[in-house]
């Protein structure tokens, strides 16, 4: 049996699991609420990844170029193919040729909240502020992804813009 040519391995299993879970979530609570749930998880994962890189790099805070590198690197480690298109003091622009969720992401736009929250969380915690704009996504059927991370708050940002704020590590730090 172990020699049988079945398209099943650990990675495929988990990607399929995530696809079905997110699909079920979208079907039960609706896309908007499903994005909320996935944002919750994405924010926590973003905190964890940010802390991991800072610890390894031995830095308490990363510069914009380092943040961009972390974003590209973390995606590569989980099977994505992100690359940096441009970076300046106002924004970072990323491209992507392959989603970490693979083909399983098509039609599951709520999973894009993982990217938005992880990129946004890491960027905001290191640079103070981030607003993530998903111009193109494989999930929506685009051939690739185009993700813009704005680094400056904008008064005219849309009400539903995905903004990320840096928080004080402890509330007491802010008031002192």
């Amino acid at each position: 049996m172990s020699d049988a040519d079945v398209a099943l391995d650990r990675d495929l299993f988990f990607r399929r699991l995530l696809r079905d879970l997110s699909g079920t979530l979208e079907g039960v609570v609706g896309l908007e609420a499903a994005e909320g749930y996935i944002s919750t998880v994405g924010g926590q994962v973003g905190l964890w990844i940010d802390a991991s890189y800072r610890e390894v790099l031995g830095k308490t805070q990363l510069r914009p170029e380092e943040v961009a590198s972390v974003c590209v690197d973390l995606k590569k480690r989980i099977g994505g193919d992100f690359y940096l298109i441009s970076i300046d003091e106002d924004k970072m622009v990323f491209g992507n040729r392959r989603c970490p969720f693979g083909e399983m992401v098509v039609g599951r736009t709520s999973l894009c909240m993982m990217t938005s929250n992880v990129f946004g969380r890491i960027s905001a915690d290191n640079l103070g502020y981030a607003r993530v704009q998903l111009d193109e996504t494989i999930a929506r059927g685009d051939p690739g992804c185009r993700v813009v991370v704005h680094l400056k708050p904008h008064d005219d940002a849309a009400p539903d813009a995905r903004e990320y704020y840096r928080l004080p590590r402890h509330p007491a730090d802010e008031t002192s």
């Binding site: 609570v29 609420a33 909320g36 749930y37 919750t40 539903d160 995905r162 903004e163 704020y165 509330p171």
Partner: protein, 354 residues
Amino acid sequence: MTGRSQAPIADLALDAHPCTTLVVDLEGRVLYANAAGRNAFGLARPSGPVPCDIAGWKTRPMPLADLLRSASMSSNWIPAHFFRDEVSIHARARGLPPDGTAMPRILIASVADSTAQFSIHAQQIRDLNSQLALYQKKSDELEASVAVAKFLERELVHRVKNNLAIISALLNEQARSAGDQSVSGALRSAASRIKSIAVVHDILDSNHQTEIVELAELMPKLINGIRAALCPKHIRIEVETESAAIHIDLALPLALLVNELVTNAIKHAFPGRSSGRIHCRCTILDVEIEITVSDDGVGLPVDRAGEPRQPYMVGALVSQIDGSMECRLDQGTEWRLRFPFRATRRLAATVGSG
């Protein structure tokens, strides 16, 4: 419209908005709550003297402190379900942009959740059903009380009828054994009056009624009673009546009036005659009833003023029912009485059923 003038309007609109809206800090202290929010979370006004927070609420999908921190970090709405005791609030939360110095602030807004709405509506339906059951129970109790009251009233009518019949019979018996003619006559008159009242109660009882009597049923029965008790065979009494449902308050004096006039004619209209005729007619005239009692007798004796002598009690009874009365002497005597009449709705389903 300027921004300055829009701000108070926005405050008013937000406060009146039915969506629960709170702004809290990371500790759960309420910085703003609209009316729906204060109501949902049971809060005093944040600007009031009493500290105001949501620390007592449990939350899903994570504890309150973690939820607020997680929500505060971005503008993405995340699910935030609050529950305490039996109350559950389905909401979502997001961060508000920091203003540089202020602590992070979290905006919480309720969401239209079908499960929660169903739960609320189900509770409302349960409450309404409870109230309905209570009202139904009270209604049943009241109906039962009314039924008992009606039964007792009918029973009272029945007993009054029987007692009146007994009294009438006793008086007649007494009249028969009385040696004095005038005493005997007085007792018979009293018995006849009581009998006329008993006739009204008899009709009520047989129809299972307590208040309403049918005139077309009352008059023949009344005349039959007088005929049987007082009328000699050579005197013929005729009755002619239209139909009307009348109240007992009118039926009793009316029965006594007819009894007085007819018995008076029997006694005084035909002295020494071998035959006589008394005619009694009831006519409905829009808002009045007219009763005519006429005879072809010798006419009434007159008083000193030359007016026909009025039978005993008639004047008092006519005035009791706000009526009028006239008497004509022309080949006999004709009494014509009129009194106001307001049509009474007859209970067709019960009248005549007995």
